[in-house]
């Protein structure tokens, strides 16, 4: 019996219902739409659908999606980092379980329903609008729903727990002794945070950014509920090509482009961060007897073959490492 025998059912299931359909979409993307009633044809292959998908009308939506993706991820990081730090370091240990549970509740509330909650809050006739008018902050009804700002609020809200949780895990793992050592060696609290806590939490930051950015870019629901015509995202374009326009070839090309944009952005982002932090990392390098999490994250132990393959991805490897280190 081969070593992977037990994994064959899952493998087969995913090949038949994930790899095959996605491969078919890639194949469709090289075809065209034949006439009004056809959805796709592949007798002539070309890159024309990709050119079409990047024509000015659709290109605006791609740029819009990228803007929301980057701004949303940055906001999640800025908002989530202090919260995660507070939960892991400042809050009393006895209350941490409760705080984590509280972050999980919105995360596990139906995505569509909590987005509808924001639609109710942001509606021009909603209570926020009434409140702000009553206080005198704005003159007319709140004009936020169905704009790009509304989509941004929605995605920051929807993906924030995915940023807080890995950051919390990372801060929690740094532990008190290293912070106290830093303090004993004369560093202030800001210096300790910048030179000890944050560098050691790097895997958590990487995981959080990826966990937020990747699904955010493919988001369909938030933009549908809060975006209207002004806050369009690529997910809606793809959906409309399949559902209303019945142009599967173009929709497929857009789907493939969406994945490519996500991959290229992650790669570029990783490169930029790597280059920018290079001088800091060489200067800040400190070698303890057994390097803790930060270094271990890049080179998982040899016993776990799987980990090494994930090192360049971060999202999964960063979060899986502790088990391997612990074992």
């Amino acid at each position: 019996m081969p070593r992977f025998a037990l994994a064959i059912p899952a493998w087969a299931w995913l090949v038949v219902f994930f790899v095959a359909p996605v491969a078919m979409v890639v194949w469709f993307s090289f075809g065209y739409k034949p006439g009004i009633f056809g959805t796709h044809a592949n007798d002539v292959l070309s890159f024309d659908r990709y050119v079409e998908a990047l024509s000015p009308t659709f290109f605006t939506t791609f740029m819009n999606t990228l803007w929301i993706g980057l701004a949303g991820t940055a906001l999640c990081l800025v908002i989530g980092l202090p919260v995660a730090y507070w939960m892991a370091v400042k809050a009393p240990p006895s209350r941490r379980g409760l705080l984590i549970a509280l972050v999980m509740v919105p995360f596990w509330t139906n995505f569509l329903v909590r987005t509808i909650g924001w639609q109710v809050i942001l509606a021009p006739e909603g209570w926020l609008s009434t409140l702000l008018q009553g206080v005198g902050v704005i003159d007319g009804p709140l004009d936020l729903l169905y704009t790009r700002t509304a989509v941004l609020i929605g995605v920051v809200y929807n993906y924030l727990p995915l940023m807080i949780l890995p950051l919390y895990v990372a801060f929690d793992r740094v532990g008190t002794p290293l912070r106290e050592a830093s303090k004993d060696l004369g560093a202030g609290k800001w210096r300790t945070f910048a030179r000890v806590t944050l560098p050691l939490s790097r895997p958590g930051v990487i995981a959080g950014v990826l966990l937020v950015f990747i699904p955010l870019m493919g988001d369909y629901i938030t933009a549908t509920v809060l975006g209207g015509a002004k806050g369009n995202m690529v997910g809606q374009l793809v959906a409309s090509q399949f559902q209303t326009a019945q142009n599967w070839a173009l929709g497929s090309a857009m789907a493939v482009l969406l994945i490519l944009v996500i991959m290229v952005t992650v790669a570029l982002g990783g490169l930029v961060v790597w280059l920018v932090t290079l001088p800091f990392r060489t200067r800040n390098r400190l070698v303890l007897g057994e390097p803790p999490s930060s270094e271990a994250a890049d080179t998982p132990s040899a016993s776990s073959v799987s980990g090494s393959g994930l090192a360049d991805d971060g999202a999964a490897s960063a979060d899986r490492v502790p088990e391997e280190v612990a074992s």
Binding site: R3, F4, A5, L6, A7, P9, A10, W11, W13, L14, F18, A20, V22, M24, I79, V83, W86, K90, A91, R96, G97, I100, M104, W108, T109, N110, F111, L112, V113, R114, I116, V120, I121, E125, Y157, P161, P166, Y168, V169, K189, L211, I214, P215, G218, I221, V238, A239, S252, A255, L258, I259, S304, V305, S306, G309, L310, A315, R320, E323, S327
Partner: protein, 279 residues
């Protein structure tokens, strides 16, 4: 000890963000008791929305379809994921690298791409390939919901077993237990907390799934989130909030069970958090 201003600022920020996280949920729960015609406009307090669940067959059916497909999809994902997770943890090799690559691909592909890919594929299987099974609404939903869930269960089960020594299984086979007996009496019980957690997580993931469901569903078997999505176009009534509140309670009970199972198995709060986010 006097608290520094930065500590105070952190606490204030933490509380504000928690308020932000709960704002729309509170709004939905409050709206559940709205007796008006529209969700947005508050009319009066009452239980009309909850009664709709009993009175409107469309809503009742949608909820039932969701619960049914959720349970079946969770079962499929748990069986597939548990076997795969055990294989990865106990029979490592070069193949694990490729397999995890596949699981990662499944988890990072945008849902909308899965959705538009599955629709023509299921139509192809059901009509062109003549497998009538795939014209069934429940089967389609189960397939769509099980993909990501299978990856999640695989991760969780693998993570748990990697953290446990294989010596128990070795001892079992040294004592002349057949491989199947060892699997049933030693490996599976060791993995059980992760298996249960994986099942419940898959169930809630499935209850939540909107995008794939909206594409692969056939009329007659509309799950609850897709019903809400279509109500979005025709006007949201308070009953949407009422039923969503019930579903939220159901989800929280399932997650409470996950936390309970994991805690019984000796996990810390941090480990529970990691497991429950699918890592």
């Amino acid at each position: 000890m006097k608290r520094s201003w930065s500590d105070v600022a952190l606490s204030v920020w933490g509380v504000l963000v928690f308020l932000f996280l709960f704002a729309p949920i509170i709004v939905i729960i409050v709206s559940a008791f709205n007796t008006g015609r529209l969700l947005v406009a508050w009319d009066g307090f009452g239980f009309d929305g909850f009664i709709a669940l009993l009175e409107k067959p469309a809503i009742r059916d949608a909820v039932w379809v969701s619960v049914q497909t959720g349970a079946i999809a969770a079962l499929v994902a748990t069986v597939l994921g548990t076997l795969a997770g055990i294989a990865m943890a106990r029979h490592p090799g070069k193949w694990v690298f490729w397999f995890i690559g596949l699981l990662l691909l499944v988890s990072v592909t945008p849902e909308i791409v899965d959705a538009v890919a599955l629709l023509p594929w299921l139509v192809f299987l059901g009509q062109d390939a003549g497998l009538a099974l795939f014209n069934d609404g429940v089967v389609r939903l189960v397939v769509g919901h099980s993909l990501f869930a299978t990856a999640v269960v695989s991760y969780i089960v693998r993570a748990r077993l990697v953290g446990l020594d294989a010596q128990l299984e070795e001892a079992s086979s040294d004592l002349y237990a057949k491989p199947l007996t060892t699997f049933r009496r030693v490996t599976l019980p060791l993995a059980m907390p992760a298996v249960l957690a994986g099942f419940l997580l898959s169930f809630t993931l499935s209850l939540d799934n909107t995008v794939i469901a909206a594409f692969v569903q056939v009329s007659g078997t509309t799950p609850w989130p897709v019903y809400v999505l279509s109500a979005l176009r025709s006007g949201l009534r308070p009953e949407i909030a009422s039923v969503s509140t019930i579903m939220l309670v159901l989800t929280l009970v399932a997650l409470g069970l996950v936390a309970f199972v994991l805690r019984r198995a000796g996990d810390s709060a941090t480990q529970i958090a990691r497991t429950m986010t699918g890592n």
